[in-house]
């Protein structure tokens, strides 16, 4: 069997759809099973960013950029099919558990943010990275504004103005996170397995 050719053409897929199971050769089936982890890369990358957010930095205001939300946003932009709102909801629920806020605050907001990114992708289509930056800044500001009412809904009203620090650092950190995730995507797309479809 020939080794899978590296598809050097710019391919937006990090895991190509497999051929029908009936048509797979045993070798292809093995290769397919071994490559399923690629579907989980967006979720895993976002979770790693979430754990990174828990670094014990001596910050006296919540100034750590919201890496987890930014990871979810950038993957919703790069791979909308692999970051659906329900997956964003799960990552948000994990964030709630780890941050010690009522379960549902980040979960709801992550799902809404993913939905907004999907809608904007459909509305505006292809656009430059400067536009992305503005869009993400707006989404992050919406997150900041909605956190207060949702915390109040969960029975823990909180002053959210200190979160403006987080908004500032997040907007500044966006290009870094976006480039990091794009690099992961490029590397994965370059090594995505090819199928001969029978």
């Amino acid at each position: 069997m020939p080794k899978p050719r590296r598809n050097d053409a710019v391919s937006p897929v990090i895991a190509t759809p497999p051929p029908p199971a009936l048509l797979m050769t045993p070798a292809e089936r093995r290769r397919w099973l071994l490559s399923t982890w690629r579907y989980a890369v967006p979720a895993l990358a976002s979770m790693m960013l979430l754990v990174l957010m828990l670094a014990p930095l001596p910050l006296s205001v919540p100034a750590m950029p919201h890496l987890a939300l930014m990871g979810v946003l950038v993957w919703a932009m790069l791979q909308p099919a692999l970051m659906p709102p329900w997956l964003a909801f799960c990552i948000g629920a994990l964030a709630d558990l780890l941050f010690g806020v009522p379960l549902g605050v980040n979960a709801t907001l992550f799902a809404i943010a993913t939905g907004v990114m999907r809608l904007s992708g459909r509305l505006f289509g292809r656009h430059g990275s400067g536009f992305d930056w503005l869009l993400v800044a707006a989404v992050l500001f919406g997150f900041l504004l909605l956190t207060g009412p949702l915390m109040a809904l969960a029975g823990r009203p909180t002053p959210v103005l200190p979160l403006l620090w987080q908004w500032l650092t997040s907007v500044m950190a966006w290009p870094l996170v976006a480039r990091g995730c794009a690099a992961v995507q490029r590397r994965l797309a370059a090594t995505a397995p090819l199928w001969r479809h029978g």
Partner: protein, 318 residues
């Protein structure tokens, strides 16, 4: 040129429309589920405590391992800078030592008198017991909740509502405890209320967090003496969690409507923290079983029912 793309097959278009509808319905359902979770958290804040503890049990040990080499590097850097500033630092320390010795001599007499008086009055005081000493493993520096995680948990004798004290002052109290990890509610969190007194005036109050570097001194009672900048705020021991006399901070803005306190210990500084037993744990007064007006049948008692607790035998509700 009047050119239009070839029309697509209607089945493909319909399939796409159906898929879009399904995904929209799922997204709406997910958001609705989130809102329902929030309402559940409002009614019963302890809903997800078990899952929460499991999640921190995984993350806190990871961070305690990850931060070890960073701490080591920071310590090395600190040792280098200590070496270069050693002479001037030694002179400064000698001067401070002289002053401190003079104050200590005066304090010794006072302490002896205090001991004698306490013996005369048969004062019984609970003692402070250190349960664990550790570093802060992880923190939520990017969230509205200001909490930290310790890589010690129920296995090390940590329980809920234990004070966490740093070298310079109060850090917070334990909130949720897992097997290998504990979550600490920092004093800067908006949920945190620390019963304090102003050392100079004896006024009692609550140091409340507000998600900012400083705390607010709220609900001040006692003599109406205006505060001054630099007044030391220490815990009062009320409430039973925090032991009395632990430094909380100093007043930096003595406004009459709400003095501002700067915390003594930076909650997330790199130092070690100790977890102590609760100063005076509030006794568990919740009834253990239902209160019966009639005695429990013997058959039920042999199957593990609680012993009969007659309503007139209960202490009257306060």
């Amino acid at each position: 040129m009047d050119w239009t793309p070839a029309p697509r097959r209607p089945t493909a278009i319909r399939r796409e429309q159906n898929l879009a509808l399904v995904s929209a319905v799922i997204s709406g359902g997910v958001i609705a589920a989130g809102l329902i979770l929030l309402l559940v958290a409002r009614v019963n804040p302890e809903t997800a405590d078990g899952v929460r503890a499991a999640a921190t049990d995984i993350v806190a040990p990871v961070w305690s391992v990850v931060r070890a080499p960073i701490d080591g590097a920071a310590k090395l850097g600190g040792e280098f800078s200590d070496y270069f500033g050693a002479v001037s630092r030694a002179e400064q320390l000698e001067a401070e030592l002289d002053k401190a010795n003079a104050r200590l001599r005066a304090a010794r007499t006072g302490q002896r008198e205090l001991q004698q008086l306490k013996r005369l009055m048969a004062v019984r005081e609970p003692t402070r017991t250190v349960v664990a000493t550790t570093r802060i493993a992880a923190a939520t520096a990017g969230s509205v909740a200001r909490t930290a995680m310790l890589a010690v948990g129920g296995g090390d004798g940590i329980t809920r509502d234990m004070p966490v004290i740093g070298a310079e002052g109060l850090v917070g109290r334990t909130l949720e405890v897992g097997r290998f990890s504990a979550r600490v509610l920092l004093i800067t969190d908006p949920l945190s209320r620390v019963p304090v007194i102003v050392e100079r005036t004896g006024q009692a109050g609550l140091a409340t967090g507000r998600n900012l570097p400083t705390l607010l001194l709220a609900d001040r009672i006692g003599p109406d003496v205006p505060l001054v900048v630099g007044d030391r705020i220490v815990t009062s021991g009320d409430g039973g969690v925090y032991p009395p006399g632990v430094p909380v901070g100093v007043v930096v803005d003595p406004r009459s409507d709400g003095p501002i306190i700067r915390p003594a210990a930076s909650p997330l500084g790199g130092g070690f923290v100790t977890v102590e037993k609760a100063w005076l744990p509030i006794p568990d007064t919740s009834p253990k079983g239902p209160v019966f007006d009639a005695p429990v049948p013997v058959e039920a008692r042999t199957r593990g029912a609680p012993p009969p607790r007659l309503r007139d035998a209960e202490a009257p509700a306060q």
